[in-house]
Symmetry: C2
Subunit: 196 residues, 2 copies
DNA sequence: AAACAAAACTAACGAGTGTTAGGTAGGCTA
DNA sequence: TAGCCTACCTAACACTCGTTAGTTTTGTTT
């Protein structure tokens, strides 16, 4: 019998994913059980299966939602007529804001993707590799056009993306430094370090 | 009955920790079972308990070994008479080399510490916070002495440490870029971005 | 050869895992 | 009102988990 996707169904599914995301981030994918998720949703574990097909499906939904957002933003930036340094800054700011506004989802996509089942795992890694390659091409062009320092593009991209992903550890203690200060200073460091 | 620590005993314990580290890194602490570890050691799971006290103990040993190495290196650098920029460069290079040479251990200390049990968890986080604070003080002094750009010290430290920890994702595909290129270019990016 | 301790083994424990089967209450439509 | 579908429930299955108990093998020392 085919599942009919009603409004109620899809919104409950979204609630489940949202609650699960919180738990996956706090305890890790493996340590967060279906019974844990069910409890925060306010339902028995078995009832979750009226809305989702498996625990894996939740992880897949989260990882690919995030990946798609980054890819489509990149395509938008690539089409723009900005300078290469400006393009990189736009991308860096987008990453930082995603990390601030969609913390749970981005964190999981960064740290729990290894628990994806095949073929989603390979798929995810291919998208990731391709995304980084395209960022590297932007840096390479920026160097060629004398906008940027001669830093090996792969290493520059790795440095930038890793630095941003470390905002995760700021999220746990948001007290002393504001989000604005964080964004402004990290952009300053990463962009001025890249600028010729 | 007190356990007697013979030479054989301690070396077998080290083997167990080494093999476990590999598995913790590959599958995560939660997903790597004692039976997995036992298999790679070439023994039954129950036999592991002749050498270690618990699965947690393995994680503790790894995390604190790494933490202690970083702390004692920092103390050495603090005592040196180098400029502040040079001090930071020394620390950055040390972090990168640790990431290259003790990949498994450093990775686990970076990513699996959340599975530590109390009171080790709090202890670990305190050491981490104190370490970052001391790095921040170096940056703050570097700014005051006009050696460095005025980047919020906490953000600068976060950026540096996160960037380096991202070398993890390079380790998985070591083909195109050599370790030397990686170190040289990352140091260049992080130091020149910091230099006034 | 006898004695001893270290380190391996088998077997099992209690708890927790994702998931399925089968049943029931409540609301919408014919 | 009768039928139907959705979303919940309880109960259970077939594992796997870390760990312990009790026993046997192995290797060294007297």
């Amino acid at each position: 019998m085919a599942k009919i996707q009603t409004k109620k169904n899809s919104s409950k599914k979204e609630i489940i994913i949202e609650k699960a995301a919180r738990l996956f981030r706090e305890k890790g994918f493996g340590a967060a059980s279906m019974r844990d998720i069910a409890e925060t949703v306010g339902v028995e574990a078995a009832s979750l299966y009226n809305h989702i097909q498996s625990k894996s499906e939740i992880l897949q939904a989260i990882c690919f939602k995030v990946a798609n957002e980054f890819i489509s933003h990149l395509e938008e930036v690539e089409r723009s007529g900005d300078s290469l340094l400006k393009k990189m800054e736009t991308i860096i700011r987008f990453h930082i804001r995603m990390m601030l506004e969609q913390y749970e989802y981005v964190y999981i996509s960064d740290h729990e993707w290894r628990h994806l089942a095949e073929p989603y795992l390979s798929n995810f890694l291919n998208q990731r590799r391709s995304y980084r390659k395209r960022l590297g091409d932007l840096v390479e062009e920026g160097i060629a056009k004398n906008e940027m320092k001669n830093i090996e593009p792969y290493v520059a991209v790795l440095t930038i993306l890793s630095a941003i992903s470390g905002i995760e550890s700021w999220q746990r203690s948001r007290k002393s430094t504001s989000a604005e200060t964080l964004e402004a200073n990290m952009v300053k460091y990463l962009i001025e370090g890249l600028k010729k």
